[in-house]
């Protein structure tokens, strides 16, 4: 366990180096947070309530999803695929810790960095510009922490599997890009999943992608409380376990493949 903590810490520290890059990203998030908030203002002028959201809820959702982009890695990251293509993966696979665990630990280190230095400032900017809805119950913060941790796991496991495609194809980025585009839409990043037509909503809400963005946002908005909250977190946990398990399975298959090629 100590080794994973150490790996996570290193990943966190590595991000600290790219301060200018983070500031540029923060500027981008703030701009898009604003640009995407304005149509919501107009939309709620026409109707006071959309699918159970009032204007403040919608604005809070808008800034939360902007804040989460980097935390849950919505735009991806191709380091794993790069090590597979370069062949460095062979030495990583033979290290005395889990390959999946290594990258998961790194991703948590990265996520914590972006939670502190990206998500927090983005939400504060949203608060300054529009005034957001903040949780009314202290317990929500605890639930949010759990939900975020699970969201990072789901986002990671999905991205990790897209990266592993590099074992089979030279176009992992192309395949992955398609996957990410789909997940962006289905995660509730472009539009809240509650806005979807009634016949489509149950489907998109049951998919794992909902757990990457929409569920943490719902928890923060206290749209799910009590048993519903438990259910939402349970669904996230289930998907996190399933996807991480699937990712581990893929690692095993891929490792066998590497060994065969190497022999």
């Amino acid at each position: 366990m100590r080794v994973y903590l150490e790996i996570g810490k290193r990943a966190f520290q590595r991000e600290l180096v790219y301060r200018t890059k983070n500031l540029a990203g923060l500027f981008t998030n703030a701009c898009f947070g604003y640009l995407r908030a304005v149509p919501l203002l107009a939309a709620f002028e026409a109707r006071g309530d959309i699918a159970g959201y009032n204007l403040q809820d919608a604005l809070t959702w808008n800034w939360t999803v902007q804040a989460l982009i980097m935390v849950v890695g919505l735009w991806g990251g191709w380091e794993v695929a790069d090590t597979i293509r370069s062949g460095d993966v062979v030495s990583d696979l033979s290290k005395p810790f889990s390959f999946l665990g290594f990258w998961l630990a790194r991703d948590y280190g990265r996520a914590i960095y972006y939670l502190l230095f990206r998500a927090l400032p983005v939400v504060l900017i949203g608060q300054l510009l529009f005034g957001l809805r903040w949780p009314h119950h202290a317990i929500t913060w605890a639930a949010l922490a759990v939900s975020l941790a699970l969201a990072v796991s789901i986002g990671f496991a999905f991205r990790f599997m897209l990266n592993l495609a590099a074992f089979w194809t030279t176009d992992a980025r192309g395949v992955g890009g398609l996957g990410l585009i789909a997940s962006t839409f289905l995660s509730g990043f472009l539009i809240p999943l509650a806005f979807f037509p009634d016949w489509l909503r149950p489907v998109v809400q049951a998919l794992p992608f909902a757990g990457i963005v929409q569920t943490p946002a719902d928890v923060f908005l206290e749209r799910v409380t009590g048993w519903a909250l438990m259910g939402a977190l349970g669904q996230q946990a289930l998907w996190a376990a399933l996807l991480l398990g699937a990712a581990q399975g893929l690692v095993v298959i891929a490792t066998r493949r590497v060994v065969v090629q190497g022999g």
């Binding site: 995407r36 304005v38 980025r173 395949v175 472009l190 806005f195």
Partner: protein, 269 residues
């Protein structure tokens, strides 16, 4: 060198880059599908929103779709032609821009001839389809003048986005850090132009009318087509101004580019 020879050389160089890209056919197809899907979802989100509301600041779905389509066609045109400028930050970082400057051709010409991304043509098709459906939806009473405004606006919009690309690339001559900020202007620009500008605050609307004139990509031409008055008070013929504004943008971009090239500090010792 006579213009005709430049033209032929352009196609030769662009053809070479296309043949290079074709070495990775699967990547090309996947990227094409990716661009297509991304725009489909983008428009899908708009549909989902309109499924819940009757109008947006008095603009119907058909009217907003008209804006969306115009913006998509213009942006995709610019994106296809100017995608060589996307390579500039990487070329500068890796020192490959040096190579351009050792050849007896202008850096601008070589950059634009470095790539023609056909994968974005899918977006032009999407934009055109949505444009066609949208104009039927809002039942524009077409006149030759309106048709001309539309055609000119699509080209002028492309030129305006094109200038943004060039200025963004020129920015990289000073620093290759924070090229993300440049994307804010290109992609932020498409986001803004996908909505009626009346919804934005006055200062931003003035900014995109008089300083960073995205309003002339589609908003003013669309107001003319829809015969809607401008909340900022510009007369109806503002819809005809797009080519003038686009020319101004190109002049500024050309100046910024050549200033940047002179400022270029090659990497390495």
């Amino acid at each position: 060198m006579p213009l005709r020879e430049y033209w032929r050389l352009y196609w030769r160089l662009v053809g070479a880059s296309a043949r290079g890209q074709m070495q990775y056919k699967a990547s090309f197809l996947l990227a094409t599908a990716g661009v297509f899907a991304a725009n489909l979802f983008d428009f899908g989100a708009l549909l989902v929103l309109y499924h819940r509301i009757p109008h947006l600041a008095g603009w119907s779905l058909g009217e907003v779709a008209l804006l969306w389509g115009m913006s998509a066609v213009s942006f995709a045109l610019a994106d296809t032609i100017a995608s060589g400028f996307d390579l500039v930050p990487a070329m500068i970082r890796q020192g490959d821009f040096d190579r351009l400057l050792t050849r007896p051709l202008g850096a601008f010409f070589q950059t634009i001839a470095a790539r023609l991304t056909l994968r974005r043509l899918g977006r032009i098709g999407q934009g055109l389809v949505i444009l066609a459906v949208a104009q039927g939806e809002v039942a524009i009473p077409w006149t030759p003048g309106k048709l001309a405004v539309l055609m000119v606006a699509l080209a002028a919009g492309a030129a305006i986005f094109f200038s943004v690309y060039i200025l963004g690339a020129a920015y990289a001559f000073w620093t290759v850090e924070g090229t993300e900020v440049v994307n804010t202007f290109t992609y932020g620009g498409t986001t803004m132009t996908s909505y009626p500008l009346d919804i934005f605050h006055g200062w931003l609307r003035r900014f995109v009318t008089f300083i960073f004139p995205l309003a002339f990509v589609n908003y003013y031409p669309a107001l003319y087509l829809l015969e809607r008055p401008d909340p900022l008070g510009l007369p109806a013929w503002a819809g005809w101004l797009s080519p003038l504004v686009a020319t101004l943008c190109c002049v500024v971009a050309a100046w910024g580019w050549s200033f940047g090239v002179r400022h270029y500090q090659s990497t390495g010792s």
